[in-house]
Amino acid sequence: MNPKSRQWLPKSAVIAIFLLPLLLISPKTYVTLTISGIAMGMLLFLVASGFSLIFGFLSVLNLAHGALFAWGAYISFSAFSFINQWTGWGGSNSIFSNILIFLLALVAAGIGVAILGVVTERLVIRPVYGSHLFQIFITVGAMTVMEELIRIVWGPNDEPMPVPVSFIGSWDIFDVVVSKYPLIAIVIGLILYLIVFTILRRTRLGMIVRAGVENPEMVQVMGHNIYRYFTGVFAAGSALAAIGGGMWATFVKSINPAMGGEVIVFALIVAIIGGLGSMTGSVVGALMVGLSYNYVAYLIPKGALGITMLLLVIILSIRPTGLFPEGT
Protein backbone atom coordinates (compact mmCIF):
# COMPACT_ATOMS: atom_id res chain seq x y z
CA MET A 1 0.00 0.00 0.00
CA ASN A 2 1.32 3.42 -0.82
CA PRO A 3 2.14 5.77 2.03
CA LYS A 4 -0.81 8.05 1.49
CA SER A 5 -3.38 5.33 2.03
CA ARG A 6 -1.42 4.20 5.08
CA GLN A 7 -2.42 7.42 6.72
CA TRP A 8 -6.03 7.79 5.85
CA LEU A 9 -7.20 4.29 6.63
CA PRO A 10 -6.90 4.33 10.41
CA LYS A 11 -8.16 7.89 10.65
CA SER A 12 -11.21 7.23 8.51
CA ALA A 13 -11.91 4.02 10.39
CA VAL A 14 -11.97 5.80 13.72
CA ILE A 15 -14.10 8.61 12.35
CA ALA A 16 -16.50 6.11 10.87
CA ILE A 17 -16.88 4.35 14.16
CA PHE A 18 -17.41 7.63 15.91
CA LEU A 19 -20.01 8.98 13.54
CA LEU A 20 -21.99 6.09 12.09
CA PRO A 21 -23.86 5.28 15.28
CA LEU A 22 -25.30 8.77 15.29
CA LEU A 23 -27.57 7.57 12.55
CA LEU A 24 -29.09 5.03 14.84
CA ILE A 25 -28.88 6.37 18.34
CA SER A 26 -30.37 9.44 19.90
CA PRO A 27 -27.77 12.12 20.64
CA LYS A 28 -28.21 11.96 24.39
CA THR A 29 -27.72 8.23 24.63
CA TYR A 30 -24.90 8.65 22.15
CA VAL A 31 -22.99 10.88 24.51
CA THR A 32 -23.35 8.45 27.40
CA LEU A 33 -22.27 5.55 25.26
CA THR A 34 -19.37 7.48 23.77
CA ILE A 35 -18.07 8.29 27.20
CA SER A 36 -18.28 4.67 28.36
CA GLY A 37 -16.76 3.66 25.06
CA ILE A 38 -13.78 5.95 25.45
CA ALA A 39 -13.38 4.89 29.07
CA MET A 40 -13.37 1.24 28.10
CA GLY A 41 -10.95 2.16 25.35
CA MET A 42 -8.61 3.77 27.85
CA LEU A 43 -8.57 0.70 30.04
CA LEU A 44 -8.02 -1.57 27.07
CA PHE A 45 -5.21 0.74 25.97
CA LEU A 46 -3.44 0.31 29.29
CA VAL A 47 -3.49 -3.46 29.02
CA ALA A 48 -2.90 -3.68 25.29
CA SER A 49 -0.10 -1.14 25.16
CA GLY A 50 1.90 -3.06 27.74
CA PHE A 51 1.55 -6.22 25.72
CA SER A 52 2.29 -4.46 22.45
CA LEU A 53 5.36 -2.69 23.79
CA ILE A 54 6.74 -5.88 25.27
CA PHE A 55 6.21 -7.66 21.98
CA GLY A 56 7.67 -4.83 19.96
CA PHE A 57 10.76 -4.32 22.06
CA LEU A 58 11.58 -7.73 23.46
CA SER A 59 9.88 -9.67 20.72
CA VAL A 60 8.28 -11.69 23.47
CA LEU A 61 4.78 -13.03 23.51
CA ASN A 62 3.72 -12.77 27.11
CA LEU A 63 0.58 -14.77 27.67
CA ALA A 64 0.88 -14.18 31.38
CA HIS A 65 0.01 -10.51 30.77
CA GLY A 66 -3.56 -11.17 31.83
CA ALA A 67 -2.39 -12.60 35.13
CA LEU A 68 -0.35 -9.45 35.75
CA PHE A 69 -3.51 -7.48 35.06
CA ALA A 70 -5.33 -9.54 37.70
CA TRP A 71 -2.49 -9.04 40.16
CA GLY A 72 -2.80 -5.32 39.63
CA ALA A 73 -6.47 -5.48 40.49
CA TYR A 74 -5.83 -7.50 43.63
CA ILE A 75 -2.98 -5.33 44.85
CA SER A 76 -5.01 -2.19 44.41
CA PHE A 77 -7.87 -3.95 46.21
CA SER A 78 -5.65 -4.68 49.19
CA ALA A 79 -3.94 -1.32 49.11
CA PHE A 80 -7.27 0.45 49.00
CA SER A 81 -8.70 -1.53 51.89
CA PHE A 82 -5.54 -1.04 53.89
CA ILE A 83 -5.31 2.70 53.36
CA ASN A 84 -9.00 3.10 53.94
CA GLN A 85 -8.73 1.34 57.26
CA TRP A 86 -6.15 3.85 58.38
CA THR A 87 -7.50 7.01 56.89
CA GLY A 88 -11.07 6.47 55.86
CA TRP A 89 -10.41 8.34 52.66
CA GLY A 90 -12.37 5.94 50.57
CA GLY A 91 -15.53 6.37 52.49
CA SER A 92 -15.32 10.10 52.93
CA ASN A 93 -17.26 12.51 50.84
CA SER A 94 -14.28 14.61 49.97
CA ILE A 95 -13.41 14.26 46.33
CA PHE A 96 -9.76 14.92 47.09
CA SER A 97 -9.45 12.08 49.57
CA ASN A 98 -11.24 9.80 47.20
CA ILE A 99 -8.95 10.63 44.36
CA LEU A 100 -5.91 10.39 46.61
CA ILE A 101 -6.70 6.93 47.88
CA PHE A 102 -7.61 5.78 44.43
CA LEU A 103 -4.36 7.00 42.95
CA LEU A 104 -2.35 5.54 45.79
CA ALA A 105 -3.98 2.18 45.27
CA LEU A 106 -3.13 2.31 41.59
CA VAL A 107 0.44 3.37 42.26
CA ALA A 108 0.80 0.49 44.70
CA ALA A 109 -0.50 -1.86 42.04
CA GLY A 110 1.90 -0.43 39.48
CA ILE A 111 4.93 -0.74 41.70
CA GLY A 112 4.00 -4.16 43.02
CA VAL A 113 3.45 -5.63 39.59
CA ALA A 114 6.55 -3.91 38.22
CA ILE A 115 8.54 -5.86 40.79
CA LEU A 116 6.66 -9.00 39.87
CA GLY A 117 7.45 -8.22 36.26
CA VAL A 118 11.17 -7.91 36.91
CA VAL A 119 11.18 -11.28 38.65
CA THR A 120 9.15 -12.86 35.87
CA GLU A 121 11.38 -11.46 33.14
CA ARG A 122 14.54 -12.65 34.80
CA LEU A 123 13.35 -16.11 35.73
CA VAL A 124 10.78 -17.07 33.18
CA ILE A 125 11.25 -15.00 30.04
CA ARG A 126 15.04 -14.73 29.71
CA PRO A 127 15.55 -18.43 29.07
CA VAL A 128 13.15 -18.42 26.16
CA TYR A 129 14.20 -15.34 24.20
CA GLY A 130 14.11 -16.04 20.52
CA SER A 131 11.55 -18.79 20.48
CA HIS A 132 7.97 -17.64 20.29
CA LEU A 133 6.77 -21.18 20.71
CA PHE A 134 8.51 -21.71 24.01
CA GLN A 135 7.45 -18.29 25.15
CA ILE A 136 3.88 -19.39 24.67
CA PHE A 137 4.50 -22.56 26.64
CA ILE A 138 6.37 -21.02 29.49
CA THR A 139 4.19 -17.95 29.89
CA VAL A 140 1.16 -20.19 30.01
CA GLY A 141 2.79 -21.98 32.90
CA ALA A 142 3.64 -18.67 34.52
CA MET A 143 0.05 -17.53 34.09
CA THR A 144 -1.21 -20.64 35.86
CA VAL A 145 1.23 -20.13 38.70
CA MET A 146 0.35 -16.46 39.10
CA GLU A 147 -3.35 -17.10 39.03
CA GLU A 148 -3.06 -19.86 41.57
CA LEU A 149 -0.91 -17.65 43.73
CA ILE A 150 -3.76 -15.15 43.79
CA ARG A 151 -6.07 -17.92 44.91
CA ILE A 152 -3.63 -18.89 47.62
CA VAL A 153 -3.04 -15.43 48.95
CA TRP A 154 -6.49 -13.93 48.60
CA GLY A 155 -8.77 -16.91 48.32
CA PRO A 156 -10.55 -18.37 45.31
CA ASN A 157 -13.78 -16.44 45.48
CA ASP A 158 -15.03 -13.30 43.83
CA GLU A 159 -14.65 -10.26 46.01
CA PRO A 160 -16.46 -6.98 45.75
CA MET A 161 -14.14 -4.15 44.85
CA PRO A 162 -14.42 -1.09 47.02
CA VAL A 163 -15.15 2.06 45.10
CA PRO A 164 -14.56 5.56 46.47
CA VAL A 165 -17.85 7.14 47.41
CA SER A 166 -17.79 10.06 45.06
CA PHE A 167 -17.01 7.89 42.05
CA ILE A 168 -20.36 6.21 42.18
CA GLY A 169 -23.30 7.54 40.29
CA SER A 170 -23.63 10.02 37.52
CA TRP A 171 -24.32 13.58 36.64
CA ASP A 172 -27.25 14.82 34.71
CA ILE A 173 -26.08 17.46 32.27
CA PHE A 174 -28.75 18.79 29.96
CA ASP A 175 -30.66 15.57 30.20
CA VAL A 176 -27.59 13.55 29.29
CA VAL A 177 -26.54 10.89 31.74
CA VAL A 178 -22.82 11.12 32.33
CA SER A 179 -21.49 8.43 34.63
CA LYS A 180 -18.85 9.73 36.98
CA TYR A 181 -16.36 6.91 36.99
CA PRO A 182 -15.87 6.56 33.25
CA LEU A 183 -14.96 10.21 33.08
CA ILE A 184 -12.40 9.78 35.80
CA ALA A 185 -11.08 6.71 34.04
CA ILE A 186 -10.71 8.69 30.83
CA VAL A 187 -8.80 11.44 32.56
CA ILE A 188 -6.45 9.07 34.31
CA GLY A 189 -6.00 7.07 31.14
CA LEU A 190 -5.16 10.19 29.17
CA ILE A 191 -2.64 11.28 31.77
CA LEU A 192 -0.96 7.89 31.66
CA TYR A 193 -0.93 7.95 27.90
CA LEU A 194 0.70 11.37 27.95
CA ILE A 195 3.30 10.16 30.44
CA VAL A 196 4.17 7.15 28.30
CA PHE A 197 4.19 9.26 25.17
CA THR A 198 6.46 11.88 26.68
CA ILE A 199 8.87 9.30 27.96
CA LEU A 200 9.00 7.58 24.62
CA ARG A 201 9.31 10.67 22.49
CA ARG A 202 11.20 13.14 24.60
CA THR A 203 13.62 11.27 26.77
CA ARG A 204 16.86 9.52 25.93
CA LEU A 205 15.55 6.36 27.49
CA GLY A 206 12.46 6.42 25.33
CA MET A 207 14.57 7.07 22.27
CA ILE A 208 16.67 4.02 22.94
CA VAL A 209 13.54 1.95 23.48
CA ARG A 210 12.10 3.13 20.18
CA ALA A 211 15.38 2.32 18.48
CA GLY A 212 15.31 -1.09 20.11
CA VAL A 213 11.85 -1.82 18.76
CA GLU A 214 13.26 -1.37 15.27
CA ASN A 215 16.60 -3.06 15.75
CA PRO A 216 17.59 -4.45 19.15
CA GLU A 217 20.86 -5.84 17.87
CA MET A 218 22.06 -2.46 16.67
CA VAL A 219 21.21 -0.86 19.99
CA GLN A 220 23.43 -3.40 21.70
CA VAL A 221 26.23 -2.77 19.26
CA MET A 222 26.04 0.88 20.24
CA GLY A 223 27.01 0.11 23.75
CA HIS A 224 23.70 -0.13 25.55
CA ASN A 225 23.03 -3.04 27.86
CA ILE A 226 19.92 -4.15 26.13
CA TYR A 227 19.10 -6.70 28.81
CA ARG A 228 18.57 -3.96 31.37
CA TYR A 229 16.25 -2.26 28.97
CA PHE A 230 14.40 -5.51 28.38
CA THR A 231 13.75 -5.87 32.07
CA GLY A 232 12.74 -2.24 32.37
CA VAL A 233 10.31 -2.33 29.48
CA PHE A 234 8.82 -5.57 30.70
CA ALA A 235 8.31 -4.07 34.13
CA ALA A 236 6.79 -0.93 32.65
CA GLY A 237 4.43 -2.84 30.40
CA SER A 238 3.36 -5.00 33.30
CA ALA A 239 2.82 -1.95 35.49
CA LEU A 240 0.55 -0.46 32.85
CA ALA A 241 -1.47 -3.64 32.78
CA ALA A 242 -1.65 -3.59 36.57
CA ILE A 243 -3.00 -0.06 36.64
CA GLY A 244 -5.48 -1.10 34.01
CA GLY A 245 -6.42 -3.96 36.31
CA GLY A 246 -7.03 -1.72 39.26
CA MET A 247 -9.14 0.62 37.19
CA TRP A 248 -11.05 -2.18 35.55
CA ALA A 249 -11.86 -3.71 38.92
CA THR A 250 -13.27 -0.39 40.07
CA PHE A 251 -15.28 -0.22 36.88
CA VAL A 252 -16.94 -3.62 37.27
CA LYS A 253 -16.84 -3.38 41.03
CA SER A 254 -15.55 -6.88 41.60
CA ILE A 255 -12.43 -8.97 41.36
CA ASN A 256 -11.94 -12.66 40.75
CA PRO A 257 -8.78 -14.69 40.15
CA ALA A 258 -9.68 -15.48 36.57
CA MET A 259 -10.41 -11.91 35.55
CA GLY A 260 -7.24 -11.77 33.48
CA GLY A 261 -8.55 -14.29 31.02
CA GLU A 262 -11.65 -12.30 30.16
CA VAL A 263 -9.79 -9.12 29.37
CA ILE A 264 -6.69 -10.53 27.72
CA VAL A 265 -8.59 -11.55 24.63
CA PHE A 266 -9.84 -8.02 24.09
CA ALA A 267 -6.41 -6.62 24.78
CA LEU A 268 -4.93 -9.08 22.32
CA ILE A 269 -7.40 -8.04 19.65
CA VAL A 270 -6.69 -4.38 20.31
CA ALA A 271 -2.95 -4.98 20.06
CA ILE A 272 -3.31 -6.91 16.82
CA ILE A 273 -5.64 -4.38 15.25
CA GLY A 274 -3.43 -1.48 16.21
CA GLY A 275 -0.28 -3.20 15.15
CA LEU A 276 2.06 -4.95 17.55
CA GLY A 277 4.81 -2.71 18.80
CA SER A 278 2.97 0.52 18.13
CA MET A 279 1.76 2.79 20.92
CA THR A 280 -0.34 4.87 18.60
CA GLY A 281 -1.83 1.68 17.28
CA SER A 282 -2.82 0.60 20.77
CA VAL A 283 -4.63 3.86 21.37
CA VAL A 284 -6.46 3.83 18.08
CA GLY A 285 -7.28 0.14 18.33
CA ALA A 286 -8.49 0.51 21.89
CA LEU A 287 -10.75 3.39 20.98
CA MET A 288 -12.17 1.49 18.04
CA VAL A 289 -12.90 -1.58 20.10
CA GLY A 290 -14.19 0.31 23.10
CA LEU A 291 -16.51 2.52 21.14
CA SER A 292 -17.83 -0.14 18.78
CA TYR A 293 -18.43 -2.48 21.67
CA ASN A 294 -20.52 0.05 23.56
CA TYR A 295 -22.52 1.22 20.58
CA VAL A 296 -23.34 -2.27 19.45
CA ALA A 297 -24.06 -3.43 22.99
CA TYR A 298 -26.78 -0.84 23.09
CA LEU A 299 -28.23 -1.62 19.69
CA ILE A 300 -27.89 -5.40 19.63
CA PRO A 301 -27.07 -6.62 23.14
CA LYS A 302 -25.64 -9.96 22.14
CA GLY A 303 -23.77 -8.65 19.18
CA ALA A 304 -21.14 -6.68 21.04
CA LEU A 305 -18.44 -9.29 20.95
CA GLY A 306 -19.29 -10.07 17.39
CA ILE A 307 -18.46 -6.54 16.32
CA THR A 308 -15.05 -6.81 17.90
CA MET A 309 -14.30 -10.01 16.01
CA LEU A 310 -15.67 -8.47 12.85
CA LEU A 311 -13.34 -5.52 13.29
CA LEU A 312 -10.44 -7.91 13.70
CA VAL A 313 -11.34 -9.81 10.56
CA ILE A 314 -11.85 -6.68 8.47
CA ILE A 315 -8.67 -4.96 9.53
CA LEU A 316 -6.54 -8.05 9.17
CA SER A 317 -7.88 -8.58 5.67
CA ILE A 318 -6.88 -5.10 4.60
CA ARG A 319 -3.76 -4.66 6.66
CA PRO A 320 -2.45 -8.02 7.93
CA THR A 321 0.13 -6.47 10.21
CA GLY A 322 -2.27 -4.11 11.91
CA LEU A 323 -2.99 -0.46 11.41
CA PHE A 324 0.32 1.05 12.45
CA PRO A 325 3.86 -0.21 11.91
CA GLU A 326 6.16 -1.17 14.74
CA GLY A 327 7.74 1.64 16.62
CA THR A 328 5.29 4.42 16.02
Partner: protein, 242 residues
Protein backbone atom coordinates in the same frame (compact mmCIF):
# COMPACT_ATOMS: atom_id res chain seq x y z
CA UNK B 1 55.48 3.10 6.10
CA UNK B 2 58.30 0.87 7.38
CA UNK B 3 57.97 2.24 10.88
CA UNK B 4 54.25 1.49 10.97
CA UNK B 5 54.76 -2.15 10.13
CA UNK B 6 57.01 -2.60 13.11
CA UNK B 7 54.40 -1.21 15.48
CA UNK B 8 52.16 -3.51 17.51
CA UNK B 9 48.79 -4.43 16.10
CA UNK B 10 45.94 -2.94 18.07
CA UNK B 11 43.62 -5.82 17.19
CA UNK B 12 44.79 -9.39 16.97
CA UNK B 13 42.50 -12.12 15.70
CA UNK B 14 43.92 -15.61 16.08
CA UNK B 15 42.52 -18.94 14.98
CA UNK B 16 38.85 -18.10 15.17
CA UNK B 17 36.28 -20.83 14.63
CA UNK B 18 32.66 -19.82 14.68
CA UNK B 19 29.54 -21.91 14.26
CA UNK B 20 26.17 -20.62 13.15
CA UNK B 21 23.81 -23.35 14.27
CA UNK B 22 25.41 -26.48 12.90
CA UNK B 23 27.39 -24.73 10.20
CA UNK B 24 31.10 -24.39 10.79
CA UNK B 25 31.33 -21.02 9.12
CA UNK B 26 34.72 -19.79 10.30
CA UNK B 27 37.36 -22.48 10.23
CA UNK B 28 40.46 -20.66 11.28
CA UNK B 29 40.54 -16.93 10.77
CA UNK B 30 43.62 -14.92 11.76
CA UNK B 31 44.64 -11.37 11.05
CA UNK B 32 46.12 -8.28 12.63
CA UNK B 33 45.07 -4.66 12.42
CA UNK B 34 47.70 -1.95 12.73
CA UNK B 35 47.14 1.64 13.80
CA UNK B 36 46.69 4.20 11.07
CA UNK B 37 45.94 1.58 8.42
CA UNK B 38 42.86 0.37 6.65
CA UNK B 39 42.66 -3.41 6.63
CA UNK B 40 40.49 -4.85 3.92
CA UNK B 41 38.86 -8.27 4.12
CA UNK B 42 38.26 -9.70 0.67
CA UNK B 43 36.76 -12.85 -0.71
CA UNK B 44 33.75 -14.36 -2.38
CA UNK B 45 30.25 -14.31 -0.99
CA UNK B 46 29.85 -16.70 1.86
CA UNK B 47 33.56 -16.82 2.61
CA UNK B 48 32.98 -15.68 6.16
CA UNK B 49 33.84 -12.00 6.13
CA UNK B 50 30.65 -10.72 7.68
CA UNK B 51 30.67 -13.54 10.22
CA UNK B 52 34.16 -12.47 11.21
CA UNK B 53 33.07 -8.90 11.83
CA UNK B 54 30.11 -10.10 13.84
CA UNK B 55 32.36 -12.36 15.88
CA UNK B 56 34.66 -9.46 16.69
CA UNK B 57 31.66 -7.39 17.67
CA UNK B 58 30.38 -10.04 20.02
CA UNK B 59 27.20 -10.78 18.11
CA UNK B 60 28.50 -14.30 17.58
CA UNK B 61 30.59 -16.24 20.04
CA UNK B 62 33.57 -18.03 18.58
CA UNK B 63 33.96 -21.63 19.66
CA UNK B 64 37.73 -21.42 19.45
CA UNK B 65 40.37 -18.78 19.09
CA UNK B 66 41.28 -15.43 20.59
CA UNK B 67 40.48 -11.85 19.76
CA UNK B 68 42.72 -9.34 21.47
CA UNK B 69 42.07 -5.66 21.61
CA UNK B 70 45.23 -4.07 22.97
CA UNK B 71 45.99 -7.36 24.68
CA UNK B 72 42.56 -7.63 26.27
CA UNK B 73 40.69 -10.77 25.29
CA UNK B 74 37.28 -9.79 23.99
CA UNK B 75 36.02 -12.91 22.25
CA UNK B 76 33.63 -13.82 25.05
CA UNK B 77 32.49 -10.37 26.00
CA UNK B 78 29.01 -9.06 25.36
CA UNK B 79 28.46 -6.70 22.45
CA UNK B 80 27.68 -3.62 24.47
CA UNK B 81 30.82 -4.03 26.54
CA UNK B 82 32.90 -4.51 23.41
CA UNK B 83 31.37 -1.39 21.90
CA UNK B 84 32.27 0.62 24.96
CA UNK B 85 35.89 -0.40 24.57
CA UNK B 86 35.93 1.70 21.46
CA UNK B 87 34.79 -0.42 18.54
CA UNK B 88 32.17 0.90 16.16
CA UNK B 89 30.17 -1.26 13.79
CA UNK B 90 28.54 -0.48 10.47
CA UNK B 91 26.65 -3.59 9.37
CA UNK B 92 25.80 -4.66 5.84
CA UNK B 93 22.21 -3.50 6.14
CA UNK B 94 23.40 -0.25 7.71
CA UNK B 95 21.42 -0.76 10.89
CA UNK B 96 19.75 2.61 10.78
CA UNK B 97 16.73 3.44 12.87
CA UNK B 98 14.48 4.54 10.07
CA UNK B 99 11.69 5.84 12.26
CA UNK B 100 14.03 7.99 14.29
CA UNK B 101 15.41 11.28 13.05
CA UNK B 102 18.99 11.71 11.96
CA UNK B 103 19.62 13.58 15.19
CA UNK B 104 18.14 10.75 17.24
CA UNK B 105 20.18 8.20 15.34
CA UNK B 106 23.31 10.04 16.43
CA UNK B 107 22.13 10.41 19.98
CA UNK B 108 21.42 6.73 20.39
CA UNK B 109 24.94 6.04 19.16
CA UNK B 110 26.52 8.34 21.73
CA UNK B 111 27.98 6.77 24.82
CA UNK B 112 27.44 9.97 26.71
CA UNK B 113 26.04 13.28 25.58
CA UNK B 114 28.88 15.52 26.70
CA UNK B 115 30.97 18.34 25.31
CA UNK B 116 33.69 16.30 23.65
CA UNK B 117 31.06 14.19 21.95
CA UNK B 118 29.35 17.36 20.75
CA UNK B 119 32.61 18.63 19.34
CA UNK B 120 33.26 15.41 17.55
CA UNK B 121 29.75 15.61 16.16
CA UNK B 122 30.42 19.03 14.69
CA UNK B 123 33.58 17.78 13.02
CA UNK B 124 31.70 14.86 11.58
CA UNK B 125 28.93 17.04 10.24
CA UNK B 126 31.56 19.02 8.37
CA UNK B 127 32.68 15.89 6.61
CA UNK B 128 29.09 14.86 5.95
CA UNK B 129 27.17 18.10 5.38
CA UNK B 130 24.06 16.37 4.02
CA UNK B 131 23.38 14.94 7.44
CA UNK B 132 23.23 18.40 8.91
CA UNK B 133 20.69 19.41 6.31
CA UNK B 134 18.41 16.50 7.16
CA UNK B 135 19.04 16.74 10.87
CA UNK B 136 15.42 16.64 11.95
CA UNK B 137 14.21 14.33 9.23
CA UNK B 138 13.43 10.67 9.73
CA UNK B 139 16.35 8.53 8.67
CA UNK B 140 14.12 6.45 6.46
CA UNK B 141 13.68 9.17 3.87
CA UNK B 142 17.36 9.62 3.13
CA UNK B 143 18.78 8.43 -0.16
CA UNK B 144 20.92 5.33 -0.34
CA UNK B 145 24.16 7.26 -0.30
CA UNK B 146 23.07 9.49 2.55
CA UNK B 147 21.98 6.49 4.56
CA UNK B 148 25.41 4.99 4.12
CA UNK B 149 27.00 8.24 5.25
CA UNK B 150 24.82 8.25 8.34
CA UNK B 151 25.63 4.64 9.08
CA UNK B 152 29.35 5.34 8.95
CA UNK B 153 29.18 8.70 10.69
CA UNK B 154 27.16 7.51 13.67
CA UNK B 155 29.74 5.44 15.54
CA UNK B 156 32.27 8.23 15.04
CA UNK B 157 30.70 10.45 17.69
CA UNK B 158 32.42 8.36 20.27
CA UNK B 159 36.14 8.24 20.49
CA UNK B 160 36.25 4.90 18.71
CA UNK B 161 39.63 3.74 17.71
CA UNK B 162 38.39 0.91 15.54
CA UNK B 163 35.60 0.91 13.01
CA UNK B 164 34.20 -2.21 11.37
CA UNK B 165 32.52 -1.46 8.06
CA UNK B 166 30.69 -4.14 6.11
CA UNK B 167 30.20 -3.64 2.36
CA UNK B 168 29.41 0.06 2.37
CA UNK B 169 29.34 0.40 -1.42
CA UNK B 170 26.49 -2.07 -1.84
CA UNK B 171 23.77 -0.67 -4.01
CA UNK B 172 25.38 2.72 -4.45
CA UNK B 173 26.02 4.59 -7.66
CA UNK B 174 29.69 5.11 -8.66
CA UNK B 175 29.68 8.81 -7.99
CA UNK B 176 28.32 8.18 -4.50
CA UNK B 177 31.01 5.58 -3.97
CA UNK B 178 33.61 8.21 -4.80
CA UNK B 179 32.09 10.48 -2.18
CA UNK B 180 32.22 7.69 0.32
CA UNK B 181 35.85 6.94 -0.43
CA UNK B 182 36.62 10.60 0.08
CA UNK B 183 34.91 10.69 3.43
CA UNK B 184 36.52 7.52 4.68
CA UNK B 185 39.95 8.76 3.65
CA UNK B 186 39.40 11.77 5.87
CA UNK B 187 38.43 9.52 8.74
CA UNK B 188 41.32 7.23 8.40
CA UNK B 189 43.59 9.66 10.16
CA UNK B 190 41.99 9.15 13.56
CA UNK B 191 40.40 5.73 13.29
CA UNK B 192 41.56 2.27 12.36
CA UNK B 193 39.22 0.66 9.92
CA UNK B 194 38.46 -2.93 9.04
CA UNK B 195 36.68 -2.88 5.74
CA UNK B 196 34.80 -5.73 4.15
CA UNK B 197 34.26 -4.87 0.53
CA UNK B 198 33.33 -6.65 -2.68
CA UNK B 199 33.88 -3.60 -4.82
CA UNK B 200 37.54 -3.90 -5.70
CA UNK B 201 37.86 -0.31 -6.82
CA UNK B 202 36.81 0.89 -3.40
CA UNK B 203 38.86 -1.73 -1.62
CA UNK B 204 42.01 -0.83 -3.48
CA UNK B 205 41.52 2.94 -3.12
CA UNK B 206 41.21 2.75 0.61
CA UNK B 207 43.01 -0.34 1.71
CA UNK B 208 46.54 -0.60 3.00
CA UNK B 209 46.61 -4.21 4.09
CA UNK B 210 44.45 -6.98 2.78
CA UNK B 211 43.43 -10.45 3.85
CA UNK B 212 41.74 -12.91 1.52
CA UNK B 213 39.04 -15.19 2.87
CA UNK B 214 38.17 -18.49 1.33
CA UNK B 215 35.81 -21.07 2.82
CA UNK B 216 35.95 -19.56 6.26
CA UNK B 217 39.71 -19.23 6.45
CA UNK B 218 42.20 -16.45 5.91
CA UNK B 219 44.33 -17.75 3.08
CA UNK B 220 46.42 -14.82 1.92
CA UNK B 221 47.58 -11.50 3.22
CA UNK B 222 49.71 -8.66 2.12
CA UNK B 223 49.82 -5.06 1.06
CA UNK B 224 47.22 -3.67 -1.24
CA UNK B 225 49.70 -2.64 -3.90
CA UNK B 226 50.80 -6.25 -4.34
CA UNK B 227 47.25 -7.44 -4.83
CA UNK B 228 46.39 -4.80 -7.37
CA UNK B 229 49.21 -6.05 -9.52
CA UNK B 230 48.50 -9.74 -9.01
CA UNK B 231 45.95 -10.72 -11.69
CA UNK B 232 46.03 -14.40 -10.86
CA UNK B 233 45.12 -13.96 -7.21
CA UNK B 234 42.40 -11.51 -8.04
CA UNK B 235 40.82 -13.93 -10.45
CA UNK B 236 41.16 -16.95 -8.22
CA UNK B 237 39.78 -15.57 -5.02
CA UNK B 238 37.75 -12.59 -6.04
CA UNK B 239 36.50 -13.59 -9.44
CA UNK B 240 37.84 -10.42 -10.96
CA UNK B 241 39.47 -10.45 -14.35
CA UNK B 242 41.18 -7.53 -16.01
Amino acid sequence: MEADLVAEPILKVEGIHTFIGKHHVLQGVSFDVYPGRVTVLLGRNGAGKTTTLRSIMGLLSPSQGIILLRNQAIQNMRSFDIARLGIGFVPEDRGLFNLLTVEENFRVAMFQEDKSTQQRLETILEIFPDLKRFWKAKAGILSGGQKQMLAIARPLVNNNELLLIDEPSKGLAPIVIDHLIDAIQKLQKQTMIILVEQNFYMASSLGNDFYIFDDGRTVHKGQMEELVANEEMKKRYLGISG
